[in-house]
Symmetry: C2
DNA sequence: TATAATAACTAATGATATTAGTTTTGTCAA
DNA sequence: TTGACAAAACTAATATCATTAGTTATTATA
């Protein structure tokens, strides 16, 4: 009712994250957002460019936060320990903020420069973790693709309820990561 | 214009697949579908229950086809050879029918009985491939989760353009799969 | 051939995003 | 202190969708 609600971009973004995490990313609509913020839909345009732009910002934030979570997790660790911790941090982020993670994972177009840079930061972080392994640049890049596939695949299937069997999920993840790392260590 | 267009459920489904593969799954709208089939939107309701039901059918079909592709790929193969072939068949399916694959991967609710059964068939197929490894039931289920994570993660990242580096993709996939399989073979 | 089932249609409703133009409020400089 | 301007809310309008209700034409069948 009050003419000034005191909104800003961050508040809108935060509300969008909450809706995404609680109700699912497909429920992040301008209508739902406006209702949550006690504002009419068009008012949101003072703070965001539109729905696609909002989704892009969510993706961007998600990439940044996921990298932060991994950085925090590997402090004081190196080698397989660090990779294992980073893998768990990745999946745990997706568990804690399923909507935000989904916003990142389900963005159709990854061509945006901001997103590319955030994505490059994640890749750069993983390359750092691989330094002790003394791989060639090409080998390291293949491993980064492999590692990302592993953790994203696991997180994604788990979130979509793809694992319906009664079976410890952390144990599945631990085995997946250690199996992959063991394979890296071993020559054919 | 003609009053009977000769539509049936399969035709509608096929058109939906084409839109999904060419324009992306988010472009599969009843409006686009009706336009493609030279029909008004409400007419589609004679053949499908609605958009959510259509998407569910796409997911179902995708699960069936992906299993068929893997079955075909492993004929005459066993052990690591079979798993490698199945992994490539999985990813190649996603490459050939990106929209159909995405429809499967991005379905919010996997609780439907039809989908569960189709999904169980995929799991059952993978368990068969693991028979030569003589794992316990629990071990085998963990491996199935791992393998699905690996191939889905790779396919998903590749489709979303997550691999922007100039680097052979098939080589990345081959390394990922063989590394995982090598890890399975090796004890710690 | 008459009737029933079916597949198309039109019309209407409600949700959504977006744009244009308006009003109110807060801030800042004269 | 006040007046002007920028910003943030608003209303109104449009366009796109999905969906439902009710109607008409076609096909199949009894």
């Amino acid at each position: 009712m009050a003419y000034r609600q005191g909104l800003d971009t961050d508040t809108v973004l935060q509300a969008a994250i909450e809706i995404a995490d609680v109700q699912g990313v497909e429920q992040v609509t301008l209508a739902a957002l406006a209702a949550k913020l006690n504002v009419k839909t068009p008012s949101l345009y003072n703070h965001i460019k539109g729905l696609p732009a909002l989704r892009k910002q969510l993706s961007h934030l998600s990439l940044i936060r996921i990298k932060e979570a991994m950085v925090e997790a590997v402090l004081g660790k190196a080698g397989d320990d660090a990779l294992l911790a980073a893998g768990f941090a990745y999946v745990n982020f997706a568990r804690k903020q399923p909507g935000l993670y989904d916003a990142m994972a389900s963005l159709p177009d990854f061509g945006d420069p901001d997103l590319q840079q955030a994505s490059n930061n994640v890749v750069g972080f993983m390359l750092r973790l691989l330094e002790p392994y003394a791989l060639s640049e090409e080998d390291a890049l293949h491993v980064v693709r492999g590692f990302r596939s592993v953790v994203h695949g696991f997180a994604s299937l788990e979130l979509k309820n793809g694992f319906r069997m009664e079976l410890e999920r952390d144990e599945s993840l631990r085995r997946l990561l250690t199996t992959y790392l063991r394979g890296l260590r071993t020559a054919d």
